[in-house]
Symmetry: D3
Subunit: 320 residues, 6 copies
């Protein structure tokens, strides 16, 4: 036997994979995709918004909206605070302008309007967004107060702003909803997903939500695109305000666009795990119990609970 | 034609928003809020704990508690490990002292005790917290072992420490619970929310949890402030140990403080999606099935499952 | 009065905790654990994979797989893209090789094969993993297209790649599943938990999932180790494909290894909150309604909904 | 026993050094030093300014002084600029206040004045420093203009601010000199050394320098503590304005405090490598040639050059 | 007098400086400057190259030119290296294009050519710069070899590339000189100052330097704008190749543009501290001794040393 | 002619350079170099020390040597300090071990000893280096005290450690000299260049320097490889202790290895700009004046000054 010619590898050897080949195959896969989706290979620079950029923008907007709570550690009331707010807002809005340009260019693909028109639109969007911020701050103040009233465990409004995932979710939503209304829906969606990722609360930017809104705990909450929520509404974890999706259209695709999520009127409370589906109306002041499954409207003042309050079987229990 | 006087903007033009105006309006909104909440505009430095600081502190404490698993890559048993633990603990405890001071000052607002008394209290709190750490490590070891025994997919205890969200949640909880017991409830809450954000497991720092506790998967678990959990208890995802919140007091606010969450005795298992509400007792050794909705106590050894084991309707199925 | 000899502390005093003692006690706790678990105190360097390293590797692989969407902002089609893909892949695969070595060494504890054999195995694993990447890209393209078809709110495939948590989850899963199949199960698990933490979607790396898979919203989804999912399957949030865990073996431990999670055939849709437990088969083309609790097989084409479509009690409602 | 029992080390073995012993010996060395220098081992927190902190402060002050040139990339004239200046100055001055406190506490060691007096002094120092900044900006503008006039290679004043090491040195010096005048000499020194390290220009903070000062190239320039420089003075690289140090006092120490460096009057030029030593006066409008060694005063309008204009020996040259 | 009503400040009080006033005064100073220098206050975005950006670009170019020495730690010959070089170059050239645009726009101020012409020029410049890189690498290889031959202390060419400040200086110079030749002189200057700051070697980008150039030690070297240096020239620290600046023009300004620095022919060595001034020629193969002061040409093969080889006075020496 | 077919480029077009071609040409240049220098293209991983890694190591060693001055801001005497020192040293020494391995492998090229022998040597070197640290600390204390005694401007020893470039240089040198003595000369050289770059002081690691050494100002100091410096020596800026390089060997190369730099005995002072060349001896207690050029030995107690104390020509001065 004269064979073991090939010694075993050691950590200093070159790795055995064929880097060049894999790069070639990955290019082939990309080209196939681009061909299928009719992407032009010579399009030039990438035109697409960036999740990281939006994360930074939202973080700056949070600081500008709540400088003493969500801003840096060492600012103060008065001059110091205004300079911080002004500078931070300046950075955030310019960065947002860049992202808005990217979305507009991305959407512009088929018809390709001229660059100056896009620029004018982008500026107009950010200007309107900027003008909306003071109003947003007041709305968010109402949400914070609602959370304070709604949670027996809260000791101060400051705690609400700093610790509650529901606060984080509603700040993101109100920013995202404003962007959505201004037509930059992809940016809005990215902002919403930033909150979804860190809180488990998934609110579509299209949802319309009144003042003094509060979500407690929050993990698993889903609120759909066309949902309409009144004032002083309170939700708990794992509540779904969804579409009733069982009907499928003739060609096998799902219906689009039309109002398909619930209307929840003022002063409604929806407890944990409740599922409300379809364009139903939950009348003002109603209370929807935990785990309730609801696919029809209920009148104002309803109190809905599960039918089976003692539904479980005690397999070896002697009784209760 | 003599009109297009106003040329279209280009990306090098100054942005069109009125930064100064928006800053003024945001200040007005803040002043309104401060007026409503009776905040003193000349209060001086911000006194509030920082979520980022606590995140860093917890990360250091994790390293100090489990140096070979959650510490840096290149330490070793022996001297090297002790130096790492000592230095990391030193940094963490000092940083914690700063945060404790901030919470005490924040809470001190109405009565304003003197600075030295606050300082003495802050030091006392951190000293007690530090002294509790070796005991916490032993408790956490019991949790890791419980996870290893409880999950057929686990191959080693190391995997439990490194990969399981339930481990992350219980480490955070045991730290938060200790802080809560020492009176720094805001810090405790922030620590709890750090875990909530990255695991979807929401345990109130007040909850009392015995040794050898294990949560599998975990997303959507909610454990309330006054819950009491015995030893060797196992929970799955989306379990709620909550308050029964339907009763509302006369003045429209929610009741506070009193025991209102379940007592779960030793050796109980609660399967995914089960909801247990109110100050009920789940007797030792019981097993609560998936999706069960339970609002009353059950005796030791109970096995509770859903009443409707074949409840679903087959709309077009010929049978099963 | 001659007593307050001991002045109150000020922030510049040394902290009062006994750092040395706590370090000693923590060491004692570690030694106890190591003794119990038979760890050798003189083992030398730490041999364990790093979550942070894997997070960085996955992030690089995402960039290499989708350079124009998940890569850096300023690359372009053509040369630029290939250089980026090649360099990023090079970094990712080398870093992965390091992590694979760490897992193999960790697993090697009892029998201790020689270093060169481990090295050869590690290289072989990464080589195979690298070779699988172009195929993975194609599979993922099918998933992205499925998401686009499945969600009426989606405006472009780009949006799917950038914003959808379900996309993030399936990218992580397909990478994790490949690692799992190559025997590095701890790495696979860590990759799965990275997705779990940021999306709330918990897919065990062992689960086999066919092409064109789509999870919408996603928070709370749990898919077990031996689940088998066909092509064109769609899941919504909080769906569980779990084991039926009520039976416990005689010695009190849980059964291991055997197939214990559902088989979901092609073209099935499972709506939000549905729970399917045990080794049951959901026949091709079936539709499982929201919140359904299912522990038996259903034939192809079944439409399963909750039995109680109007189960809730209206406590004060006049009717509906 | 004849046995190479001890195998050779491999990279995974524990390192052979005795970490604990070295730490002990280093502690012994520190204790010896502290004993010699009468340092109190129980002094509590470190009270010493930080070079990194000052580097950051100076960088912020540069931005606040020259926002469009030394500030961040994306600010603009008008509101945006003022907000940036205000916020940056706020951060810089607060950080400076912290450093001033540290120096005052450090210097306070022997006599230990009360904390509130120190605090009042620290605030007074920073207030005066802040009030001096607009004047400093005007002085620096005169320096920039002087550089532009003095260097035939300069194309714009902007280039001077951005590229010239002499500009960096004079900005640092004017800040350091102001701090020096306010009594925080250690901070002043650290600021001077920051410039020294990056430009090779070593100006003692005590040196008094008039407006329109310009140093070209600059490496190796040294300007002593009691030097006095008039207006419109120009220096080249490697110029020394030093003390004449040959005389040593009887007890072997060097003389302190008294004026011992040159006075350079208005409109003087000193060429590269010239050395001027002692409390001599270089009369207004004089020109001191390269490499000149000067230890006595010269009257206004002097032109001093080396005596040996053809001093070199041509060893093998036939002539020139 | 019963007055000290005003308590002493404590660290939590607001700082006493008038931030708003200082910001106003700084703005006044800026406006004065802008008025003097005729800057248009409504100019829009800043158009100026960034030192930090160029530092990063040069660092990337160094990596692309010498991937195994100045690139990241873990690349290899072959595919891996080319991908790294390609990707790094791609990033560097795009970033450079941005900086070139900024300089062109800055210079364009008076005449304001249209944006597309500037863009075309910018692209042309970077294209030519990119095409020059392979030639630069070869030139730099000759410099490295010259250093290896010229320094008895050097053990390998790798050491030269990694450790020698002279190498750093010549890499920067050859890049800066190329930029200078392409008309982006401000970028060139910034690159030169980057080297000046970290090595103390100050070479004007305009200087023309032949292959196999070596500077040893280097601190204090100054080479002027119109200097011309042949092949295989060697310089030591503190050598000046400067202009003879004593003559001043009638209107008090310094002469510009014309050749005014030395010509150093092939194979010349200039020892430490030598100063050569004016448009003189140092003939091929000459050797200029340490500290020599030379203001006239010398023929090929000259050996010039100081006239005073024993010039010093021994004040108390008995003899030598 | 109606032709402007080729539109002008805009910033979104792809850049015009041929990235692929340049990468190819750069590879060709590298291959040529490797061919010339006989580098093996299939050598595997890079084996070369890293400047950044050494910078970090030195920074950690500085912290471990002077924890209260060069360590982080918040440590204290006692336990806290020891834990910091131990952990930091642990990190530094392990990182150094990695760098030592890299240098040994690099040097090993021709003869290629086995891996385990190299590993043993590397460990031995770091062990000896570690053991030398306490002695180094004591030596450095003597240097700090010498600086304090030698500079009339110094107010405290702490200022010396924090602000003086001479201190930085001697710390680096003593570390580098130790590494040099242990045979890792490339590491030593890199450490020396780190100091050179930030202080302008260039000390070859081979130079032997006695205790209580002080360099003031320092820019431009050069100390050669075989220089020997006694105790209590003081140098000022721009002093050269160099080789006398005029003699060149017959084959045109420079002589190597032999002692060729000055011996400076105890208690010597060398003033700014003095140049001492060759293997001469400066006798104990001598004083060498500024700008003196010295190429021969002087006996103990010599005071050497420039011969021309009034050498300059006053061109238009009426007298002096």
């Amino acid at each position: 036997m004269n064979a073991p010619l090939r010694r075993k590898p050691s950590p200093v050897d070159a790795p055995p994979w064929q880097l060049g080949d894999i790069v070639d195959e990955l290019r082939a896969a990309r080209e196939e995709w681009r061909h299928t989706h009719d992407r032009r290979p010579d399009k030039g620079e990438r035109e697409f918004p960036s999740r990281d950029a939006l994360s930074d923008i939202v973080s700056k907007l949070c600081g500008a909206l709540f400088p003493m709570r969500l801003g840096p550690a060492d600012i103060q009331h008065g001059c110091s605070e205004d300079f911080y707010v002004g500078h931070t807002l300046d950075l955030a809005l310019r960065a947002l302008l860049t992202q808005v340009r990217l979305e507009l260019k991305h959407l512009a693909r088929p018809s390709e309007p001229d660059a100056e028109t896009l620029e004018a639109r982008a500026r107009d969007i950010v200007q309107q967004f900027a003008a909306a911020l003071p109003g947003l701050r007041r709305l968010l103040d109402s949400d914070v107060e609602a959370a304070f009233r709604g949670d027996p465990a809260a000791h101060s409004v400051d705690e609400i702003v700093l610790c509650y995932p529901g606060t984080l979710a509603i700040i993101h939503h109100r920013l995202a909803h404003t962007l959505h209304g201004l037509g930059v829906r992809l940016l809005a969606r990215i902002v919403a997903e930033l909150a979804h990722s860190s809180t488990g609360i998934d609110i579509h930017p299209g949802a319309r939500i009144g003042r003094s809104f509060f979500i407690d705990h929050g993990t698993g909450v889903v609120i759909g695109e066309t949902a309409v929520i009144g004032e002083r509404v309170r939700l708990y974890q794992a509540v779904t305000l969804g579409a009733k999706r069982f009907t499928v259209t003739a060609d096998g695709t799902l219906e689009k666009g039309a109002p398909r999520h619930p209307i929840v009127e003022d002063d409604v409370v929806v407890y944990a795990g409740a599922t409300i589906l379809g364009r139903v109306t939950i009348g003002r002041g109603s209370s929807i119990g935990g785990n309730v499954w609801l696919t029809h409207s209920v009148p104002p003042g309803s109190v809905v609970t599960q039918a089976f309050s003692r539904n479980e079987v005690m397999e070896n229990g002697a009784g209760i």
